[in-house]
Symmetry: C3
Subunit: 458 residues, 3 copies
């Protein structure tokens, strides 16, 4: 949008929508800058029935609204036009290539250069394509901000006429935020994604070592083909469960902080704040891994390897005239294991669905809290139970500890079990009572001076 | 938010945002009440660049906007401040602990106490956490209402500055609704949830009786392990199908009411109205049960019990030198059964997706109606057909009627079949014609007096 | 809403909400037209606390706001009332039975008849049911447009009082669009649906011919039972992959157009524009087919036919004392095939989720673009790879070419492979550089005259 070099040509170029001879005089707009964006916008406004002037000299005489489609670097020349632009609505649509390039927002800079104009920041969050072709998926909302209500109304009218939905974000001081918006690329997903990649890599190497390499070194067998599905299907549920636990751990830690400090008015350490703010992303990534686990599990019976093994087993049973007894305990255990897993996945999905913006907007805060907290812990409980049922009594057999290492599923149970135990502690009647009082604003008075300055300085 | 006891301290406490020496004078706000909420909000407003005064005496001289962070019980003392508060914007953020505690809304009570002020109800639907930390999932929208447009605009500006999205809900008479909003916990889900729990319990005991207890009593076999998956997977689809039928039954009943009465202007009985209003929730719960049914079905082949039985069957076939013939009819029937089930689940999912708020908002009313009605009946038809194909000719065998009771799947077919037959009746040309006329406003004139009073009194 | 014939009765009928004796005088509204809609709306407004007058004569003296619930055909009689309606707010709620019935929008026609009134178009996108019973799913938003801001505000206040959310769409010239909105039935889905039906029909007959009919004619076997699941599960993935390719093909074609023309300011041919505009719908339908493919695949192991074949194979292996060796390459290939398929489906789902309106609104344009483009091509790559792994070396065997025709999966690979190759070409450094320059507004100057007129005339 602002990468292209553009010259502001002095010649005025007045464009009129076609076939408007009989209609009443359409509104006149002025566009500064004949670069990519200026031309896109000009075309679109012509189609919407406006008259458009593309020059900065003509603007002074005619149009009450000027679209500034030039780069910030060329703003300084506008200072000479300040008298002509007095009282005009100037729409700043510019963006920067990276964050914090300049000490102040482009729109605020423009306002400073021409104090007598009414600057409105708008349209900069849209793609040039959307400006030319009208609203589409991520290009439906026009955010605007500015200090003049009338100016904002004028721009809002233009935007609705072009088919967009307008969201007024407040005064011009918000411009910086709007200018940063198009630059962001999932900032709140970075930390959770790194955690997910790290955990996946670690557990992948761990199971490759314990399964494939161990079998090759100790038993001389090549079972590397198991990497694609069997091992992947060990790693995915492990990462999913750990990340789900990581999603609920900060809440528990925060509660202990509050209990220890005896107040809720002290800010949490920074790392805890950052952690709390990415819980939703942690949870959604965990759901993604759970989904992969479900899919990898469901294709088990159509795998060549599985079919081969089952047939081989049946054949050897017959040849060696072996009869295996039906084991009712095994049936109970495995069926419970699957059942608990399915229920856990169902509540997991529910958590994911209620975090869709439109669903969470329709919930009251109490409802959202109920789902994310109660249902969240239920999910964690079910998934942890699912893993315990998977392990069952496997931990008793020495053969589980290849090269003296615990199984991957045992490792992954540590964190969720800890979170559940800590949460249980918090639910003990007297702990719960203290915590509720603290969260309602009560403070343990150790030193009144400290408490009151806490409010002022934090 | 209002559970804590708080005293309104008389000493004035003026707070200024840090590092604003050079900046222009920030706006001044006043907060009444130094409890939890008052302090949270004060901190947040300081961070947003406002100057904040925390006292009721100071307010009279200085701030044009006063945030009332005190409990309704303490409102009466405000009457003495009425002269100083004249013309001020008073923001009522209070909530109650339960519904209908007081004859009038808190905000209306406040307005009555200080008639010369401009009361705006706002922020009460947010959690204290959101007020301190800014918008998050269920805490993005600030609902506000009030009788003065300027006052609402001032509060809306403040809210947008804090990063929230503002929704103006109208005049102060809406305050009661806003005050009830944070108290609700899925009110429209209660009836459907009770129906679901009731049906699940009934059918669970029914299949336990006919399967597990019958086998134990009559055949002396313990097959209780089947409860976890096999029986659950009988109950889930049954409850799902019945609830789907319950979702479409009220519409059919309503149509017959209209046909019988010959008008659409008479109100339906209350029970029918309530039923109609929870169709969406019934449908979504039914979808949840269908999802569980799908998951429980897909894990069938990896179950220990199933693998054991298949292997045992193969082994006994060989040992007894039995040869089973491939039955093309069975192949057709079971494949059709699965196929119809999958298609039914797919249309079911589509119904669920289109009921997401953001999707249904993007549809025209005609489109939404098309999906929910046409696609809904198609889903009901496919799922009913799926169940008939499951049953096939099983109803012919006496062994299906253990203890002279019908199978659970036979019981569950009654309602959906009835709904489909009734719907077919409504689609008969002359019935359809009458109904369409009635729905377009035509009335069968039996007694004109009655008809017109009907309009006035219902 | 407008199908019924209705007469405008001359007698005035003043209705008052019940139990409002003590309350302050409620606002007075007038409704023109005593048809279906007029009565629904009247009832609802009474319930909301308004006083309602239902006549056109009375309106002249009393109500400042008149709801026009009459058909356009009866508008002309209103001309006689023009003096009495001067300065009133007239709310036009009418719709037409089909598009382009009249040269101008109903609301604009009304404004022309009574130029001194302030016409606002509103409520016409709601169902009569919603007007009587309040907001529900697809009936939550009231779109309105009009030239007078005060008039729009008055109507917006009324709508919020009735519980609706108001979206101001701009000036009265938007009325036509609002009047067309209730008439549309998935207009943007038609072309993609036709493509889907066409492809499904073609490939269905193709596989029936090559599998069922070939087996019947050449080998004399009846395998028609395979139609329900096996053949369906061949057609669904094929259609899904082709439609996914069709979703990304127009983007590639557009890029080549721009490279060839050396500018981005020339409009694409119409067919390409239309194609680009239905990519989202193509993609979502493709996702639907992929979902069906997944479900049909997962039920494979519980099918009667499959279980019979596996048992028969095991039994014959034993009887003929055959020993099949475990083939590690097969295990690698099939597991990779499933793995790649699952990952492809997961990214596919992610694409679908991010195209939900509320999710895409929460993304910046750059984020949306990243997902839809990068993740989209990754999905196409994974799904194409999945199909190649499915085919593997099958193409080498003459038996694959029944009646000298290629397999269906081979046919379906043509388009996605072509799209991927073309995309790779566009990623070559120097091609990419040219394209980026063109997209930033650079133009290859062949004839400056032509270039500048291009802007004016296209």
């Amino acid at each position: 949008m602002d990468k292209m070099s553009e010259e502001v040509k002095p010649e005025s170029l007045s464009l009129c929508p076609l076939g408007t001879a009989a209609a009443p005089e359409p509104e006149l707009l002025c566009i500064f800058g004949t670069g990519d964006l200026g031309r896109s916008l000009g075309l679109r406004l012509l189609q919407a029935g406006y008259r458009v002037v593309m020059s900065h000299v003509a603007a002074a005489q005619s149009a009450p609204l000027v679209l500034m489609c030039i780069q910030r670097d060329h703003y300084d020349f506008l200072e000479t036009l300040a008298p002509q632009l007095k009282g005009k609505v100037l729409v700043d649509v510019s963006n920067n290539i990276k964050k914090n390039m300049y000490p102040e927002a482009n729109a605020e800079y423009l306002q400073r250069l021409i104090p007598a104009a009414k600057v409105v920041k708008a349209f900069n969050t849209l793609s040039a394509w959307a400006l030319q072709n009208g609203p589409s998926d991520a290009n439906r909302q026009v955010f605007l901000c500015g200090d003049s209500k009338e100016a904002k109304q004028a721009v809002a009218d233009m935007a609705t006429k072009l088919g967009f939905t307008v969201l007024d974000r407040g005064s011009l001081s918000v411009a910086r935020e709007l200018e940063d918006f198009p630059l962001q690329l999932f900032p709140e997903w970075r930390l959770p994604l790194r955690v997910a990649v790290g955990l996946t890599a670690f557990f992948f190497f761990y199971v490759v070592l314990r399964d494939v390499i161990y079998a090759y070194v100790v038993q001389g067998k090549d079972i590397s083909f198991r990497i694609m599905v069997s091992l992947a299907n060990k790693v995915f549920p492990i990462v999913s469960l750990i990340m789900l636990a990581l999603c609920y751990l900060p809440g528990v830690v925060a509660a202990f902080f509050q209990l220890y400090r005896g107040t809720k008015y002290k800010r949490f350490p920074n790392w805890l704040d950052r952690w709390m703010l990415c819980r939703k992303q942690l949870g959604l990534l965990a759901l993604g891994f759970a989904f992969l686990h479900v899919m990898y599990t469901l294709i088990i019976p159509i795998r060549y390897y599985v079919r081969y093994r089952i047939a081989a087993r049946t054949i050897s049973d017959i040849r060696e005239n072996r009869t295996s007894e039906f084991d009712s305990t095994s049936a109970w255990r495995t069926d419970s294991y699957y059942s608990v897993g399915i229920l856990g996945f169902a509540t997991y999905l529910l958590l994911g669905i209620t975090s869709l913006p439109s669903v969470s907007n329709a919930l009251s805060w109490r409802e959202f809290n109920f789902i994310q907290s109660k249902l969240g812990y239920l999910t964690l409980l079910l998934c942890t139970l699912h893993t315990y049922l998977y392990g069952w009594n496997r931990f008793l057999y020495p053969s589980s500890y290849k090269w003296y290492t615990p199984s991957a599923y045992q490792l992954c149970l540590v964190l969720p079990s800890a979170v559940l135990v800590l949460k249980l502690l918090l639910l003990l009647p007297w702990v719960d009572r203290s915590l509720t009082r603290i969260r309602q604003g009560w403070e343990r008075k150790t030193d009144p001076e400290e408490a009151s300055t806490g409010l002022l300085l934090t």
